[in-house]
């Protein structure tokens, strides 16, 4: 969900996503790169995101990811589930 959410804002590459996850959650989500890439590839295999290569300095290519329509729909669905879950847990804990 967090990966899809980040990609709705702009196209990003793996390293950038890790940094954003770490900084955006005050260090709570310090995910290892070895965990992120299989997730990205699985999301792409499922058609939730697509990748494209952009040329960077020294003629090297960098792989950027973009969320697809299918991914957007999936994000809305997961967000809805998460909000329900969060509300229910919060309600229970706050009692």
């Amino acid at each position: 969900m967090m990966i899809l959410q980040m990609l709705t804002q702009r196209d990003m590459y793996g390293y950038e996503m890790l940094e954003q996850l770490k900084n955006g959650t005050d260090g709570e989500f310090d995910i290892k790169a070895g965990t992120l890439y299989p997730v990205l590839h699985e999301l792409e295999a499922e058609g939730f995101i697509v990748s494209h290569s952009k040329s960077i300095e020294n003629g090297r290519l960098r792989k950027f990811y973009t969320v697809t329509e299918k991914g957007g729909a999936r994000l809305r669905c997961v967000k809805k589930d998460w909000n329900s879950f969060y509300t229910a847990v919060k309600k229970m804990v706050d009692c």
């Binding site: 790169a33 070895g34 965990t35 890439y37 590839h41 295999a45 792989k63």
Partner: protein, 407 residues
């Protein structure tokens, strides 16, 4: 514990070369960026690379996980369907053979060859053929040329293809169908058009042979004209045309080729249906016997007819599954190849059904995959090849978008 060693170990876990290459490119970019940042924070090169290795985790485990993601099964249900259709065909043929060892032997050989071909094509994938698009294009145009030239020249080339021209020409169409879908696909986009073609030069030799063997002035002139057209076509392709026009001109004759083959079959079916009492239209087989027309064979019992209907139902399921999967295929060439292969198979099936319903008389066309090892061994191999291409397209993902094809 340097970056290169990490990537080498990871690569060893991945089977497909293009996946290896893409994963290596992506992860090396990440690792180098991470190492540079750590060095700028004060670490040495060695310490930085060690820290990056640690962040990435175990290369063996990561490689194995990525390999699983990128090695989807080539449609197990389709494979099961192909297996069932071949079994059904084998059962029917065994009944028809009635202990004829020659038929049984040929059928066994065809099935073994089919299994090997299926495994090889599914494993290597259609991109293997696309990377050799130029050679395949030359072969495809060559077969079309060899196929059509004698017809244009009056279908009388006894010195080249013998008296039994009808039958031998017919068989060529199966070979042609083997190459056609991928040949069309490879010329589908202007970006992939072969840069230089041999087409004109390549066929000068057969043109010369056909010309020398011509028996009349008309044949001679047709051969000369065909040779001139081929040569001019090649010159125009290689000198004048832009990539887009070249791609369009390359695709056009192949597309016309497949439709002419289909129409030709339809015409022959129609001719035999109209003139079904004219024995001279029925060609002989290799043993000099008249080829059986009408139903599959006159002695089929109702249970065997049921088997044929069962086979047709299996094929219908195959068609529905493939048609449903088609929009989901993300690789554009894969989608295109699947569509073409399916079209070829369905056209052949339609003729078979019409023949079985006695609308048309049979002229060697039969249910795809069903008559393995009989007179249509080549057809069986052709079917297997087309279905293998479809299955290999199922394995394709847009993540590594047919990269080798573009090179």
């Amino acid at each position: 514990m340097d970056i290169k060693s990490f990537l080498d170990i990871l690569e060893m876990q991945i089977k497909e070369n293009r996946v290896k290459e893409a994963v290596r490119e992506e992860l090396s970019d990440h690792m180098e960026m991470s190492a540079d940042e750590k060095i700028s924070e004060g670490m040495t090169q060695e310490e930085a690379e060690k820290a990056v290795w640690s962040e990435m985790g175990d290369p063996t485990e990561l490689g194995a996980r990525l390999n699983r993601i990128h090695s989807p099964s080539p449609a197990p249900f389709t494979i099961a369907l192909v297996f069932m259709m071949t079994l059904t065909g084998g059962y029917i043929r065994l009944f028809i053979a009635q202990g004829d060892n020659d038929v049984i032997l040929r059928m066994t050989a065809a099935v073994i060859a089919g299994v090997v071909l299926f495994a090889a094509v599914t494993k290597t994938g259609y991109t293997f053929f696309l990377t050799r698009r130029k050679e395949l294009y030359e072969i495809s145009v060559g077969i079309m040329f060899v196929l059509l030239l004698p017809h244009f020249a009056g279908n009388r080339m006894p010195l080249i293809i013998g008296e039994d021209t009808h039958l031998k020409m017919w068989r060529l169409t199966y070979i042609y169908e083997l190459f056609l879908p991928i040949s069309l696909a490879m010329t589908y986009s202007a970006a992939y058009a072969p840069r230089r073609l041999l087409t004109g030069q390549l066929y000068l030799l057969p043109i010369c042979i056909f010309t020398l063997c011509s028996h009349s002035f008309e044949q001679f002139m047709v051969c000369i004209a065909a040779g001139t057209v081929m040569f001019a076509y090649n010159v125009i392709m290689n000198t004048v045309c832009t990539a887009k026009i070249k791609a369009a001109l390359l695709t056009l004759p192949l597309a016309l080729g497949i439709f002419s083959v289909i129409l030709w079959r339809g015409y022959l079916c129609f001719r035999l249906a109209v003139f079904r009492h004219d024995e001279t239209l029925i060609p002989n087989n290799n043993s000099g016997q008249r080829i059986m027309y009408g139903r599959f064979i006159s002695g089929l019992t109702s249970s065997h007819e049921s088997m044929i209907i069962f086979a047709a139902v299996l094929f219908l399921i195959f068609f529905i599954i493939t048609a449903m999967k088609l929009p989901k295929l993300t690789a554009p060439f894969g989608r295109f190849i699947t569509l073409l292969c399916l079209t070829v198979i369905i056209c052949r099936l339609l003729f078979s059904v019409m023949g079985d319903l006695n609308i048309f008389r049979f002229i060697g066309v039969s249910y795809p995959l069903i008559n393995a090892g009989s007179r249509s061994t080549l057809e069986y191999i052709s079917d297997i090849f087309l279905i293998s291409l479809i299955c290999s397209a199922y394995r394709e993902r847009k993540m590594f978008p047919e990269k080798n094809v573009r090179s």
